[in-house]
């Protein structure tokens, strides 16, 4: 069975989704979903282990060899991403049952889990596959389920946010489709590995250039990179809390993965970075993203909005690391990817707990919460510290590596700007701390209790992970380094 | 019951006409499909004398032969007037009385009127059909009642 792990990784949640419809009681469905997600997590652990020891794992679907059939190709990078996605999904699901009881009408619960599983499977599929068109198909599975999940939010603005996301997402996906079409036109293949071998022959043509442009723009739309980020804040803010926690921690990561996969593996380093002014473009956009989004975050009154903008800023950091285009830079990006998933997972889940107790995440409703929900608020504070990049948290580790990578390239001003960006993060995190701890509680809120255990456990798992990986960086750094080295074609 | 049998038989004919693959697998798949379709049709309540008008089967071909002749004549007329232009036409509504007793008879009559270019059945109210015609002549033709008579003959 070990040989079949790559496919099982995707197929387990995918098959579990329709099975959910046959279960009648929501509690049962929840348990079932949890088990499926847990299984996926287990598989991804074994896979990572396998990939780290033996190198890339290839799985040919239907028994047809690669350019003719579809293959799954799991290298260090994909294994790493698979682990992040399935881990976050499992942890977040612990709280799901309690949370959605509050936020989603009862007759939709089963559907929620079905869509959740489909979304998970879609993301895993994107990461695992080695076929360009298969990416598109699974991208659509995850996107469609995401739209529906967001629209399940209580607020009517959730609908509008979801619609905007749908339009943007579909344009993005269609752009990717055009790009894939152009690539196929020039090479006659859809397999990524095969593409990377055949593209250099035609790299000078204008068609390939256009293909590249379309794929990148399409991915950036999904990624919510700075100028194309408009859909993200509302989508995150009005989605059900669980969905926000899951998406914030995983969806953009998958998009970053695609960006890396296409630029490094498919088009190849020399094409992506030497022929085109991509480096400087991404650097500028990344930095702009950090500043604009962080500034916007400071002025938000809805905390979900606030953290959503902060997500865009954090994407900016990843883009900066990506634009450095050295092993160190990419390592920093991958590390930040992992760390950011941990932080945002913890933060949004904690917000979900707040939502569960007080039914709102407006900043002024947080008054006095520091005393009423001490554990939850402590989690938010630690997550916030991690966002800023205080030592002993994961945020510090990735920023440290990022600054090192930038300096290694001799880009001193950029390093300074990154640090300045962190100062902005201090401002918006401080606003929450100030209100929650130093303002008296609102009248009539004395009855608010600490969040239930079903929230606290997953939140604190993530928070402790934040601290653990901030102190003991060996595991995450080792994997990230191995992944980026293999992308640069160096053996670890 | 007889409707079911007729339906199954005509479905089978339809399948064979379309398929053209007479392997055992395909034939058995066809049989299964027909069974399912008949079941669904029963559930939908579309199997009755209206939908499978077997009492008409014998007389229909003769009627259609006559109808086709009518259609050709009417067609040529309309085409002539298309090329002659707007001035030559004299459109108007009229009401004709249908002497058919059953719904299916009325439907055949109404559809025959519509099939003949130059006249369209617009509305059914009991046994009164409202017809729109392109030309006065077509109205006269209809009011002579030949078509009506032929359709009624079909019924008995």
């Amino acid at each position: 069975m070990l040989a079949h792990l790559p496919i099982l990784q995707v197929i387990v949640p995918l098959m579990a989704a329709p099975l959910c419809l046959f279960l009648t009681r929501p509690r049962l469905v929840w348990l079932f979903t949890l088990i499926a997600s847990g299984l996926a997590f287990l598989i991804s652990c074994i896979l990572l282990q396998q990939v780290m020891t033996t190198g890339t794992v290839i799985y040919e679907l239907g028994g047809w060899d690669a350019p003719w059939g579809i293959e799954y190709r799991i290298d260090q990078l994909s294994a790493f991403l698979l682990l992040i996605i399935s881990a976050i999904s499992t942890v977040v699901l612990f709280a799901a049952h309690t949370s959605i009881r509050q936020e989603i009408p009862a007759d939709r619960h089963t559907l929620f889990y079905v869509l959740y599983l489909l979304c998970l499977a879609g993301m895993l599929g994107i990461v695992a596959t080695g076929d360009a068109f298969n990416v598109f198909v699974f991208l659509e599975i995850s996107s469609l389920s995401t739209y529906a999940l967001i629209a399940l939010g209580k607020d009517r603005r959730a609908l509008w946010a979801s619609y905007q996301y749908l339009i943007m997402g579909t344009i993005g996906a269609t752009f990717i489709l055009i790009g894939i079409g152009l690539m196929y036109q020039m090479t006659g293949t859809l397999n990524m590995d095969d593409l990377s071998r055949r593209l250099p022959e035609v790299a000078q043509t204008r068609t390939v250039f256009t293909a590249f442009a379309f794929v990148i723009v399409g991915i950036c739309l999904k990624l919510a990179m700075f100028p194309l980020h408009l859909w993200l804040p509302n989508a995150y803010a009005y989605a059900p809390s669980i969905v926000t926690a899951f998406l914030a921690a995983t969806a953009t990561k998958v998009a970053i993965y695609l960006l890396i996969r296409f630029t490094f593996s498919v088009f190849g380093l020399s094409f992506s970075f030497t022929h085109l002014p991509l480096q400087i473009l991404f650097l500028v956009l990344g930095l702009l993203g950090i500043f604009v989004a962080s500034t916007a975050a400071i002025y938000q009154t809805n905390i979900k909005h606030l953290f959503a903008y902060s997500s865009i800023a954090q994407i900016g950091y990843m883009i900066v690391g990506f634009s450095v285009s050295t092993v160190a830079g990419l390592t920093a990006t991958l590390l930040h990817l992992f760390n950011h998933a941990l932080m945002k997972g913890a933060l949004f889940l904690a917000l979900g707990a707040v939502m569960y107790r007080i039914g709102s995440v407006q900043l002024n409703h947080f008054q006095g919460l520091g005393r009423q929900m001490p554990l939850t608020m402590a989690a938010i504070v630690i997550g916030g510290l991690s966002l800023i990049g205080v030592p002993l948290t994961v945020g510090f580790v990735s920023k440290w590596y990022l600054v090192l990578a930038v300096i290694e390239n001799g880009w001193w001003p950029v390093a300074v700007l990154i640090l300045l960006g962190s100062l902005l993060a201090i401002v918006y995190v401080w606003r929450i701390v100030e209100i929650a701890y130093f303002k008296p509680a609102l009248a009539g809120t004395e009855t608010i209790k600490e969040a239930p255990l079903s929230f606290l456990i997953p939140v604190w798992i993530l928070v402790l992970a934040n601290i653990y990986f901030g102190v003991d960086t060996r595991l995450s750094v080792q994997v990230a380094q191995a992944a980026s080295q293999s992308l640069f074609g160096l053996s670890p | 019951m007889q409707h079911t049998i007729i339906l199954s038989l005509s479905l089978a004919a339809f399948w064979l006409a379309n398929s053209g693959h007479n392997t055992a697998l395909m034939l058995s798949l066809g049989a299964i499909s027909i069974t399912i379709v008949v079941y669904i049709a029963h559930r939908m309540d579309v199997v009755d004398h209206e939908a499978q008008p077997l009492h008409l089967t014998l007389k229909i071909p003769g009627y259609y032969a006559w109808l086709i002749k009518e259609i050709i004549v009417a067609n040529l007329l309309v085409v002539k007037h298309i090329w002659l232009g707007n001035k030559s036409i004299s459109p108007g509504f009229t009401t004709v009385t249908a002497s058919q007793k059953t719904d299916i008879g009325k439907v055949i009559y109404a559809n025959s009127i519509t099939l003949t270019p130059g006249t369209v059945t617009v509305n059914l109210q009991g046994d009164q059909f409202m017809v729109h015609a392109l030309l006065r002549e077509s109205i006269k033709n209809l009011e002579s009642g030949e078509m009506d008579r032929r359709v009624t003959q079909l019924e008995n």
Binding site: H4, I11, M15, A17, P18, L19, L21, F22, Y59, E60, L61, G62, G63, P67, W68, G69, L111, L118, D131, N134, V137, E140, I141, L144, A151, I178, Y184, Q185, M186, T187, G188, T189, V202, R206, T207, A213, F214 | L11, F14, W15, N18, H21, M26, L29, G30, S33, V37, I40, A41, M44, V46, E50, A51, Q52, D103, V107, A110, N111, T121, L124
Partner: protein
């Protein structure tokens, strides 16, 4: 081709959404004819049923719910135009180095495709190459496709489903009686046609190996027959005939059927979707596998389409009860 452009431009200017949708139907039919001219018969089949049929219908129901007039105000047309022109010229620029249209020497016809054309008969034994690529070489894509449509069905269900009550049914029945009278002719003709349409769907389902067609198209045709029935006999009758939760189960069953074909080959120690594991004779196994997964696709598509349509139509027919 220029014809298509004309229709598209007309769509831009039209304000009446109903007219826009009809033009969209024409656009769908036209592009489907174009697909036939381009040898893509399978695609034409699908586009005809989807582009001209299902999406037009869904659009119609949707605007019946939302209203048909478009506001004259448009925002940022200049900016939009700039973006569009930029993208368009980038694409034109990209086409400059493309192999010419119809050239047999283009790389796309040289690399992967020849194997499909030359060897699929020995390897799979199905004359329709599109089917063999779809259902065997790239079976996983098709599985994805089935899941996508399933996802959409679940999404629509999550967004639109309303709780029906018996009294509502009765009320609607009352409303519908005069409708039946008016639609005497269509009703009888459709009563005659429906069994044949259903059978035709099955025919398309099982003959996908030999000619154009297959699970997806069959599913759509099957669903179309049910739409037709629903439109003429009313929602409440349709609900009595087709049980909502049963159809949901059916949609799930379709996906599961497809997936379990893969699982069976897994259990037999072969790769996922390696149909040769299904039978002693590899080609026979392929044939069986294709038959089964096409059936899975057909079931999923038909039931999902029905779910989607019913939920839209329910929204329209049943009085709304706000929940939140």
């Amino acid at each position: 081709m220029a014809f298509l452009v004309g229709v598209a431009f007309a769509i831009v200017w039209m304000k009446d959404l109903l007219a826009v949708i009809m033009l969209l139907g024409i656009y769908g039919l036209l592009s489907a004819s174009f697909f036939v001219a381009m040898d893509a018969v399978d695609v034409a089949f699908t586009e005809a049923s989807v582009g001209a049929g299902i999406s037009t219908l869904l659009m119609l129901v949707a605007i019946a719910l939302t209203g048909r007039a478009e506001h004259p105000a448009r925002h940022k047309p200049l900016l939009a135009l700039a973006v569009v022109i930029f993208t368009g010229s980038l694409l034109i620029y990209g086409t400059l180095d493309m192999p010419y249209f119809g050239l047999a020497e283009a790389p796309i016809h040289q690399h992967v495709a020849p194997r499909y054309i030359n060897d699929s008969m020995q390897e799979i034994g199905v004359p329709n190459i599109v089917t063999s690529v779809l259902a065997s070489y790239r079976a996983f894509d098709t599985f994805g496709e089935a899941v996508v449509i399933f996802t959409a069905g679940m999404g629509v269900l999550a967004l639109l489903s309303v709780a029906r009550r018996r009294e509502d049914d009765a009320k609607i029945d009352l409303l519908n009686i005069p409708m039946h009278e008016q639609h005497l002719i269509p009703r009888i003709v459709i009563k005659m046609l429906i069994p044949f349409i259903l059978l035709f769907a099955f025919y398309v389902q099982f003959h996908g190996d030999f000619g154009p067609g297959g699970g997806f198209q069959a599913g759509v045709i099957f669903a179309a027959a049910i739409f037709l029935y629903t439109m003429l006999f009313g929602m409440s009758t349709a609900h009595r005939v087709i049980n909502q939760s049963f159809i949901q189960m059916l949609a799930a069953t379709g996906v599961l059927l497809y997936g379990s074909v893969g699982v069976v080959s897994l259990l037999n120690g072969k790769e996922f979707f390696d149909y040769s594991a299904l039978s002693a004779d590899p080609v026979g196994g392929q044939h069986l596998g294709i038959l089964l997964i096409e059936l899975g696709v057909g079931i999923t598509v038909a039931s999902t389409m029905v779910i989607i349509f019913f939920n839209f139509a329910d929204r329209k027919e049943y009085p709304q009860r706000k929940k939140d």
